[in-house]
């Protein structure tokens, strides 16, 4: 391991505990700001390594998500800047990432609640729609692959996926507003 990394076992354990607790949230955050799946996974790894390197600067007891959000956003912006071929639209990309990051920041609490409510809403979907969700997100299939698997047209799959996501979105919004109503 490089010499600039924390090396005490306590530090490592504290870091792994926090990372585990916020792992899926961190992935959600990075995925929200990086549209390419392959890039997103690479950036996510880099973010985790950076968080680990910077961990000695984290004050225990303070908001880990807020701290991690800043580091992750910077890492994503740096990654964009390092991609030379995108130079023409890089300023647009950066402004877009910053705008979306600020919006997520602003709505952080409600988004976290919605993510929790999503589990319940998924279980309310009809079986056929759950299957589409599993294909799209568990198997990582694109719209075209799902079209082949489900013997539908690409356009039909796209419309179906959009509708399912809209149903889920409406459901989580209702859950947040009235947690006790179905």
């Amino acid at each position: 391991m490089a010499s600039n990394q924390p090396d005490s076992t306590d530090q490592t354990e504290a870091y792994l505990r926090l990372l585990t607790q916020h792992d899926r949230w961190l992935a959600t955050y990075v995925y929200s700001l990086v549209s390419s799946a392959a890039d997103a996974d690479d950036i996510l790894q880099e973010v985790k390594v950076t968080l680990w390197k910077q961990f000695p600067k984290f004050e225990p007891g303070t908001n880990f998500r807020a701290w991690a959000r800043t580091i992750a956003t910077n890492q994503i912006l740096n990654y964009r800047r390092s991609e030379k071929k995108r130079s023409t639209s890089s300023s647009l990309d950066e402004a877009f990432i910053e705008a979306v990051a600020a919006e997520i920041d602003h709505r952080a609490e409600s988004l976290d609640h919605k993510a929790e409510a999503l589990q319940l809403c998924l279980r309310k979907l009809p079986e056929a729609h759950r299957k589409i969700i599993v294909w799209r997100y568990y198997e990582d299939c694109g719209v075209e692959e799902i079209a082949t698997k489900s013997e539908r047209t690409v356009d039909a799959v796209y419309r179906l996926l959009s509708r399912i996501r809209q149903v889920l979105s409406d459901c989580v919004t209702r859950q947040i507003a009235h947690p006790s109503t179905p």
């Binding site: 792994l16 959600t28 392959a38 996974d41 639209s89 979306v100 919605k114 198997e139 996501r165």
Partner: protein, 463 residues
């Protein structure tokens, strides 16, 4: 937001990557300017990303019935597991029953990111660069291939190697050599071999499993934990340390089936070391485990490190030519079948290794005994190497890092000439490696001997 249906459609298309680059740029510009569109986009992208980030738990959806009654409490996502053992147990291929029909789903856990001069065999996974790999087996015959797991771990396979991918945190080395680089977040990444289980504790390490039951681990950086040892204890290895385990499931000393000369197409006669008075074996400086004449492998290694290093190894093969009229030989070839030795890492030897074949000119030494040969009694050699008074150098050959991709054929006029001069019906050849290593854990090269259960034994082809 002018038209909410149209906006939602743009958002959905953006999420699925269905916008053209121009449309996507226009969309981004609008998100920056339009607060309402931005809010709607963030709601949708967060939902989409939450599903991606929690994809592993989605498979459970197919096993549950629809929720007919309201559930009052909101459920949290299952807490991510962070212990190595738990992470290693996640099964990524599941068979579930949907409406009475079986649906098998497999999700990618790794990507093949690099493949140098690779040749593959018997793999049930795709082998082109950038392929997404789910659970399954990869058999690399030739070359060096690098896999990047979703956990962040990078595993490099050196041919010949067969690896089974289980999850993003777990794979099984059937045989061959891999090196793994594991960043902190992938802490707990595990590689099983037939003999042991290696659990990473934040490190860079190598594992090699021989085709005849032995495994070696070497830690380049950091620390690993070894499980599955015979005494049931866990053992920690730190930087620079190594461990070698023999499982005992080798067929050491077994009596091989005797072979016969084979008449091949083109007038060739192939004579294996398993024919007649033929034999093969190797010796190691220090004689650890000696005599090694009946080992399933003949192993060669050379080191330029400390003089007197104990890992110097040389091999000798003898063919029975009693049924061959040697003076009329026109051409000769020696065929050797490389096998994983289970010792050392090719990352620690140069890009290409040079070997030499010597003919044993002193025919009185052709009668060496497999069950008695030691380092000091190896025919035609003294401690430093082949003895120029007793042997003749006949040929050199090279094996690139990542293997030769199959049997090696060594030929040349000097070889045929040497055989023509035979007078006792036996010819012996010494095999030595001339290329040294940069680290004592450098790779030992091995070839199947006549005791090997599946490999082709050394063979002399004549015509």
């Amino acid at each position: 937001m002018k038209d909410s249906t149209q906006s939602l459609d743009r958002i959905q298309r953006a999420l699925e990557g269905l916008l053209s680059p121009e449309e996507h740029d226009a969309f981004k510009a609008d998100v920056i300017q339009d607060a309402e569109l931005r809010a709607a986009y963030v709601e949708q992208v967060w939902l989409h990303s939450t599903l991606r980030a929690n994809s592993e738990s989605l498979i459970g959806l197919l096993e549950e019935k629809e929720e007919p009654t309201p559930v009052k409490t909101t459920r949290r996502w299952p807490v991510a597991m962070w212990s190595a053992a738990a992470a290693a147990c996640i099964t990524l291929t599941s068979t579930v029953f949907v409406f009475g029909k079986t649906t098998t789903v497999s999700r990618p856990v790794a990507t093949l990111v690099q493949a140098e001069n690779c040749r593959w065999a018997g793999s049930d996974l795709p082998t082109s660069v950038d392929s997404k790999l789910g659970t399954g087996r990869l058999a690399l015959v030739e070359g060096i291939a690098t896999l990047k797991f979703k956990s962040g771990a990078t595993v490099t396979m050196e041919a010949p190697t067969t690896l089974e991918i289980l999850t993003a945190m777990h794979c099984r080395l059937i045989e061959g050599t891999v090196t793994a680089e594991v960043p902190v977040p992938a802490h707990g990444f595990t590689i099983d071999t037939p003999d042991i289980q290696v659990v990473d504790l934040g490190t860079k390490f190598g594992v090699t499993a021989g085709s005849t039951g032995n495994s070696q681990v070497r830690v380049f950086e950091g620390e690993v934990e070894i499980g599955g040892l015979a005494d049931g204890k866990l053992k920690r290895l730190t930087e620079g340390k190594g461990l070698h385990v023999g499982s005992g499931n080798t067929s050491l000393g077994q009596e091989p089936t005797r072979g016969e000369p084979i008449q091949e197409a083109g007038g060739w006669t192939a004579i294996p070391t398993s024919y007649g008075k033929g034999k093969d074996g190797y010796a190691r400086r220090g004689d650890n485990g000696a005599p090694l004449g009946t080992h399933p492998l003949i192993i060669v290694k050379h080191t330029d490190l400390a003089p007197g290093a104990k890992n110097e190894r040389r091999a000798i093969i003898t063919f029975d030519l009693s049924q061959v009229h040697t003076p009329s030989i026109n051409e000769a070839q020696i065929v050797l079948d490389p096998e994983p030795s289970g010792y050392g890492f090719s990352a620690l030897v140069p890009d290409e290794s040079r070997f030499a074949i010597y003919g044993l000119a002193d025919e009185t030494q052709d009668t060496w005994n497999e069950k008695e040969m030691h380092w000091s009694t190896m025919p035609g050699c003294n401690d430093d190497g082949p003895n120029a008074d007793q042997v003749r150098k006949l040929a050199e050959f090279w094996i690139p890092r990542g293997g030769s991709g199959g049997p090696l054929t060594i030929r040349g006029e000097a070889l045929a000439d040497f055989i023509r001069q035979d007078s006792n019906g036996l010819v012996s050849f010494l095999i030595v490696r001339e290329t040294g290593e940069t680290d004592p854990s450098g790779m030992a090269h091995a070839f199947a001997s006549k005791e090997h259960p599946t490999g082709r034994c050394p063979t002399l082809r004549l015509k």
